[in-house]
Point group: C2
Chain length 145, copies 2
DNA sequence: CAGTTTGTTCAAAAAAACTTGAACAAACAC
DNA sequence: GTGTTTGTTCAAGTTTTTTTGAACAAACTG
């Protein structure tokens, strides 16, 4: 913040707040996000980007949704990881900007890849050791058919 | 618990504990359950029933998994609600007994119906009020194409 | 180089979810 | 009816997850 910065927030970065319909859409995704066991903030961020044609910076996301830097950073990273949002650097701009990936198929498969696999990996290795156990059981345990 | 009850737990209701392979399977479902944002206990219960051919009572589930009455009751109800387990009353038996529904397609669709719908209901009504808002916006807001 | 801007990380605080256990209700047996 | 068994509910305690904000690192500007 230097001596030339504007003091009127409405002029600083076109952050005029949310339209009524945008709040509604954001809430919609917030609830959907909740339903799938994801943090609310993920849903909010995706919802916001979903509403906007223009790509938004992290600052704008923070301001518009009233969330902290940490939440914005982590939320955006997660959403990027499962391909729900993509980011671009406009030429000659240091700010990274984000847009929503609108193809829901991608979103879901990305979510499953990121969310399910890490845990199921542990499970998978256990399944293998299980096969071994099963073989040993077949003869002595009648429960296995 | 009356004067005739047996004191040796191994004889009371054939609750001999879990086989090694059963523990492994239960762990598997526990982790999967976690991945989908469901309580651990749901996964454990489903995993246990998944292992057993015989239908189990709530008591047996509690004993074998070392979980409380409340957890067992609520877990079983939830699993029943999205058709992951079904219950039967053996003739002349007051105990309800539970078995796992093995068709995973049913499980997933049941999960989605139960988990997503209640929240998305709120969202849906919001979507309708949204339509109204949108119509009013089309003329004045160039963002909407 | 020093000063900014931008984004990440992580420990602590806050919020949310899960589990427990005791109290309760319903159904049954005698 | 009384006494027992079976299952549900819910407030309180516990655990887990999410959010925050300050400290940090990296990249850029002049």
């Amino acid at each position: 913040m230097n001596a030339f910065s504007v003091t009127n927030p409405a002029l600083s970065e076109k952050t005029e707040g949310l339209d009524e319909w945008e709040s509604a859409v954001i809430d919609l995704f917030l609830n959907a996000s909740n339903s799938f066991g994801l943090p609310k903030s993920y849903g909010q961020i995706y919802g916001l980007l979903f509403c906007r044609d223009q790509a938004l910076s992290m600052d704008e996301v923070m301001d518009l949704l009233q969330i902290s830097k940490g939440s914005a950073s982590q939320g955006l990273r997660a959403l990027r990881q499962f391909r729900a949002v993509s980011s671009t650097f406009a030429l000659g701009d240091r700010k990274e900007r984000f847009v929503a990936e609108i193809c829901l198929r991608k979103l879901v498969s990305g979510f499953l890849r990121e969310q399910a696999d890490p845990h199921l990996d542990k499970g998978l290795s256990r399944l293998q050791q299980l096969e071994g156990l099963l073989e040993g059981c077949v003869s002595k345990d009648s429960r296995i058919r």
